[in-house]
Point group: C2
Chain length 363, copies 2
Amino acid sequence: MGDAPGNPLAGSNAFVGVAGFFTLRTVTWDDGRVRMIDQTALPNRFSYVVYTTPEQVASAIRTMVVRGAPAIGVAAAMGLALAARRSRATDLPGLVRDLEKSAAMLRSTRPTAVNLFWGIDRVLAKARASTSAKRAKEDVESEVKRMEDEDVATNRKLGGVGADLIRDGDTVLTQCNAGSLATVGYGTALGVIRAAVEQGKLVKVLVPETRPALQGARLTAFELARDGIPCTLIPDTAVGYMMSLGRVDRVVVGADRITRDGYVFNKIGTYQEAVLARRHGIPFHPAAPRSTFDLERAHDQVTIEERGAEEVVQIRGRRIAPKGVPVSNPAFDMTPPELVTSMITERGLVVPPFEETIAASMA
Amino acid sequence: MGDAPGNPLAGSNAFVGVAGFFTLRTVTWDDGRVRMIDQTALPNRFSYVVYTTPEQVASAIRTMVVRGAPAIGVAAAMGLALAARRSRATDLPGLVRDLEKSAAMLRSTRPTAVNLFWGIDRVLAKARASTSAKRAKEDVESEVKRMEDEDVATNRKLGGVGADLIRDGDTVLTQCNAGSLATVGYGTALGVIRAAVEQGKLVKVLVPETRPALQGARLTAFELARDGIPCTLIPDTAVGYMMSLGRVDRVVVGADRITRDGYVFNKIGTYQEAVLARRHGIPFHPAAPRSTFDLERAHDQVTIEERGAEEVVQIRGRRIAPKGVPVSNPAFDMTPPELVTSMITERGLVVPPFEETIAASMA
């Protein structure tokens, strides 16, 4: 399935669900196959890719065919379900060994989003708790289907929690894409926006393009335009200026990992949004499900992924910097708890002091 | 003259002057022709364009063939010198009328950098003070040649003032391109870096790519690599994170206009650098010549140029956002005086309180 190239906003009704929103699933389990929207081709082309091996799924995570913390958590889990399908082991320990091998490969794809490890661990635990290889294969498949459905339900719940913060007429600044395309569906930060719109509020979204991978320009603008939610795209350099003009009422972003001490790891550029929001007295909220919280680690135990220079020096195959220039390309940054107003989760708002409240609400 | 396409760093020695630095002039008067480096083609291709009419120069300023406040000031002045050459007026009032007509057109190209108006006014004043049309044409030409030479001398002086602030081993963050390519030669912010290197200091430069027009990636990285000054290119989203890691010792940027009350208008993204610098206790310095100071206006009397959406939704001809998405693309922003540590000028450092010191040092 795919649109004709050209105007991606002139899509078919297939994109619009009962609530009027983009309801296609970003990642889905299709009886032994993992189907994903190819996010590298957006917004120019809307298409699906189908994978049948865990290696293919690992490669899709690494190259950002699928990205967004909740989405890669579910995708990695489904990669393990593919490994279970393909395993020739006849006993449970043999199957678990096969899964652990694939799990190691899937874990090595990207280091920062904790949902990846959460998804893998959840499937492994399910397999280990089974009574036979045959039973484990069934359990693993029903578990990933459950995770897929849970993701959407969680985001709707989280969206409702966050929507209560949004006033009619607000302009919300986000970062990157924490939308349908970062999850199985509905989105986290954009789930908050969608839920506010479902409450009948007029919400406008200010979308920084989010260099280097341009998820704001390519994905968030695409999703919002599809859903008819008003948005304005800005260069990342204009975030502070927009705030200084009074054009931002609230910041809502996703998260890739929130540590037990309240530090928020999210797409590069989030930290500076938080600093700028503080200067301008604008509330700043990460929106994230339970699976994004890392209760085992403090902020100094997290690895921030450094990606290749080619993401920065080339855009869509065109060179934009001199050859050989050294590049630093951290994919994420860290926002300290003192810059966070509250965290939006499916379990309610988490408020300061985060080093106490996170443990209490997420246990 | 041009390089073969390919590695623009593998240039000839023609680029290297006695001090070892990029010494080609960005804009030069060549006996009735204005010669400019075509900055839209950099870093992929190094080439010159030659103009013989004021309309061509106006178009070059509008389309950023030439950009950078000091460079467009000199370019506009030279556009008027072309108008003088082409004028058929035989008496001085007739010539002045012709020049005023071209001046109006040149003034309408870009609204924010005050150097543009300064360059135009200086040439007009010279013509008006002449005694005949013939004499005025000569005076105008010698004036633009003087302005061209003065620009480089001013930047060297300003560079020396700023270099004294730089410590051996410092990493300096800049924004956009305030280098040779933003001036006739040597640069303002990059002039400070060059002067510090000439003093024997090791200086590293952190270069944000500066979306949307990518002057950091395309021009600053190009200039610095040519000159063998170590630099690292980063996405604009990584500015705050780099500061939080302790990787920035000082911020030095250019300016397009500094008003009498100490507000600094410069490339979009400068304001957020200043806010982030303040949070991290990093000194923040605009570097600008006298011609960038606007003693007649306060900050609320300046127009910030809004440029077209195509700069944001397309990069080098490739679409990176859905068609039809609304875009806000302010080319500049405004940094308030309380975020400025000191201003680097050819007349020395200007320090707070700026509403007093600017008037005193720039009168």
